[in-house]
Structures are given as structure tokens and as C-alpha cells.
Amino acid sequence: MSANVLFDAPGPKARVRNIIYTVIGSLAVIGGIVWIILRLNDKGEFDPDLWGIFNYSGIRQNILDSLVATLKVFALAGVLSLVFAVVLCVARLSEHRPVRWFAVAFIDLFRSIPLLITIFAFWVGLVGDMEPFWALVLGLTIYNGCVQAEVLRAGINAVPTGQKEAAYALGLRKTQVMATVLFPQAIRSMLPSIISQLVVTLKDTSLGFMILYPELLQSARLIANNTPVNGVYPFVQTVTVFGVIYISLCMILSGIATWLERRGRRAKTGIKVAAAAEPAAVAEIVDTAPDKK
């Protein structure tokens, strides 16, 4: 292990102790896994009949349909939220005070309401009748747009002021400075955070479950409820299968974010790249940073 602020490089005694801890630790971790497996086995969850339901072509079709339904919402909400974020971000940085205040209020408001409540309100009829699909897309767009706008703003604020001044000195107009100097650098530096927030968007499509949109988890529940095998409802099996699908989707996307972060750190463009952490948790830190300096 490399140098660590918590520990000295281990000497002979510490090395022996570490080996003992390693053995105990492995036993504890393996023991936990074995216990869960035994428990599942006791309850008969490994019964091949229960897993056999995934051989039915109808159920496979269901899985595929729900995957498409999830990806459809994700794609649309992802794109729309980014577009909306650019608009909000420009409004947030506007020189006109009313526009700026409106953007600040809007962002602060929708960031502090649980997304589920926004989506539910749209579904029930906050602005007229709405299909679950559109309620979900609209809710995701507004919430994630607000978060992405803050991410973009943090990125723009992180661009050295000299860049902006130089652009103005060249005679570029406000729009040109934004579009050709600030945004490209901001997006480049914030790309890992933007993608991490897209992972959040993907995860939040699961809220469609509550408004009966037939996305992955909803159809997991339906399959488990509608195909009892020998009187047992295969919840463990469907949750496992759908969980694996969901988690792999998210992990692929987070993998891209981490890869971009590493790549950005290696590149010698002089643009600092943000961490691939979830911006919902980070945006506020980035936010307050300029004030503290």
C-alpha cells in the first residue's frame, strides 16, 4: 500500500497483525455472503422452477419492452435537461437583474422539492392532464436541468477571468464570449460531473414506478405479481434480474464519467477537470468555493 496519512509503512509486527486482520476480514466478508446464500437456499429461492420464468418469451419481451421504456425516458429527459440547463445557466449569469433573480429562485425552488413530488404533481394534473410518460420526462427535465445548470455555472466560474477579458478585448459580443469561449471550456471541465448527473437521471427514471409508468421496476413488480410459480411469487428472482440490468446500466455510465475524469487530468489543455462525483452532492460545494476565496 502506498503512503497513507493514517498509517506508517508497516514494520514486521504490523505486517503480521495485518495478515491476521486480513484472514479475519476475509472470513467475516465470506461468512456474510455464505449466510445470505444459505438463507436464500432455506427459503427455496434457488428452486429452478422460480428462475425458469425467464425462459418464457413473453417475459423476455416484457423485460425488453420495459428496458426500452426506461431508456426512452432517459434519452429524452437527458437531452431536454441539458438544453434546459443551458438556458437556465445563461439566465442565471444574465446581467439583467430580474432574469437572474428569476433563475435563482427557480433553481433553488425545484432543487429543494423531492423529484417524486414534482412528478406526482404533474401526473395528477398540476398543469392539465398528463400521461405518466410526459409527467416523468417533464419532472426529470426540470429537476436535472436545475442541477446541471448549477454544474455549468460552476464550470463557467472556474474559467480564468483572463479568458473572458481577452475575448471582450478582441471585440467579441456577449453571446459570442459565452458561446465560443466560456461554454466550451466549462463543458469540457465539467463533463465528468454532467455525466454523473446523467447517471442520477437514469436512476431517477425508476420513480416512474410510483406513477405506474411501465419502466423496469414497475414491470419487475408486475411480472412477480402475475406469474406465481407453485404458489410462490418470484420477487427475489425478478428483483435480482432487473436490479442487475439497472445497476449495469448505471455502472457503464459512471464508468464513462470516471474515464473522462482520468483522461481530463492527463490532458495538457490547462482546463481543470471536475471530479466524477454526483453533482447533486457536489454542486453546492463548488458553488460556495468562489465566495470563500
Partner: protein, 215 residues
């Protein structure tokens, strides 16, 4: 205005439910999160692997999926007859613990190596190094992200409302079923959430201020 006044007791119950869920899940998340962060920085390989797996897995899981596991799988396989509040706290607490663990770990990592080396060089023991030098600095770095993590947690507890828990989302659902205008419900529920999130924000501001040192 009628929605609020007619159903004041229901709103109060929902508000109390959300606060209770948030506070209890936050405590669970802090305990598990610190333990997992400890695993992730420990010199013991299997624990490090376990910690990393825990964080990666939970960060890439939708909370709704965790709720499904908690409400359909856990009662069936592990313990039947658990209270829906306990299950909701488990789901929210476990989910948030991954984020807490990341915050704690990066908090520890921002303490520069020189600090620990200097502490050892002046003859402090391991416990003294931890207690007097490393942990105070790490705490200071952990507090700001924790604030946004707990605000996110507050919002996430809304999902518990869809799973048999009395909270603000549950209240809005009940009232909307009773035929009240969703716009007014939305306004009041939003206000309630704003109160909670601003309270957390203020609390952490105070905490941050108290931990602050002049540099």
C-alpha cells in the same frame, strides 16, 4: 389555504414523519458510512474490497430498487413482520451510507501526508496523531458535503411515502385522492420541504462556522 387548515393534523403528521425518517436514516447512514469509510482506508485488503464494492454498488442503485428489496425481498427471506418504518430507514440509510462513506474518505484524503509525518516527527503516538492532527482536519472537510448529502436524503425519504409510510408525499397523495386542488397541496408540501432543507442547511452552517479555524 383551506387545504392546509382543514387538514392541519394530517400535514403535521406528515411533516413529523418526514423529519423522523430523515433523522433516523441520517444516523444509520453516518454509522454505516463511517464504518465503510474505515474499511476503505484500512490496510486490510478484503475489507478494502468490501468497502469499495459497497460504495460502487449502492451508488449505482436506484433508491426505488432498494425499497423493492427492502419491502418484498427482506420480509420474505430474512425477517418477516418488520415495521414499514424500519424497512424504509434501512433502505434510505443504506443508500445514503455510500455517499457518507465517500465524503468521509475524501475528507481524510484531503489531509496532507505532511501533517501526519510532522505529527510523528515530533513524537506523537498513533492515537495522538489521529486525535489531535488528522481527524480534526478531516472532520472540517467532511462537514460541508454532509450537508448536501442530508438534504438529498430528506428529498429521498419521499419515496418511503409511496411504501406505506406517513410522510409529506403520502399526505399529498391522500389529499389529492380526496379531491383537493393539487396546486395548493403542491405549494404547502413544497413549503414544508423548504423548511426542513433550510433547517439542515442552517444547522450545518453553524457547525461549519464552529469548526472553522483562521488560516
Amino acid at each position: 389555504m383551506d387545504v392546509l387548515l382543514d387538514n392541519l393534523s394530517l400535514f403535521r403528521e406528515g411533516f413529523y414523519g418526514t423529519v423522523k425518517l430523515t433523522v433516523v436514516s441520517a444516523l444509520v447512514a453516518i454509522v454505516i458510512g463511517v464504518v465503510i469509510a474505515g474499511c476503505r482506508v484500512s490496510p486490510v485488503l478484503p475489507l478494502r474490497i468490501f468497502g469499495t464494492a459497497w460504495v460502487t454498488l449502492l451508488r449505482n442503485t436506484p433508491l426505488t430498487l432498494l425499497f423493492l428489496v427492502a419491502f418484498f425481498v427482506v420480509p420474505k427471506v430474512l425477517y418477516p413482520d418488520l415495521d414499514s418504518f424500519v424497512l424504509a430507514v434501512c433502505a434510505c440509510g443504506f443508500y445514503t451510507s455510500a455517499f457518507v462513506a465517500e465524503a468521509v474518505r475524501s475528507g481524510i484524503n484531503t489531509v496532507s501526508l505532511g501533517q501526519a509525518e510532522a505529527a510523528r516527527a515530533i513524537g506523537l503516538t498513533f492515537t495522538q496523531t489521529m486525535r489531535l492532527v488528522v481527524l480534526p482536519q478531516a472532520t472540517r472537510n467532511v462537514v460541508p458535503p454532509l450537508s448536501s448529502i442530508f438534504i438529498a436524503l430528506t428529498k429521498n425519504t419521499a419515496i418511503a411515502g409511496a411504501f406505506d409510510n406517513t410522510d409529506l408525499f403520502n399526505v399529498s397523495k391522500t389529499l389529492s385522492n380526496e379531491g383537493y386542488d393539487i396546486v395548493m397541496i403542491f405549494v404547502w408540501i413544497t413549503l414544508a420541504y423548504l423548511i426542513i432543507t433550510y433547517a439542515i442547511n442552517g444547522l450545518f452552517r453553524v457547525l461549519e462556522h464552529r469548526l472553522e479555524v483562521a488560516r
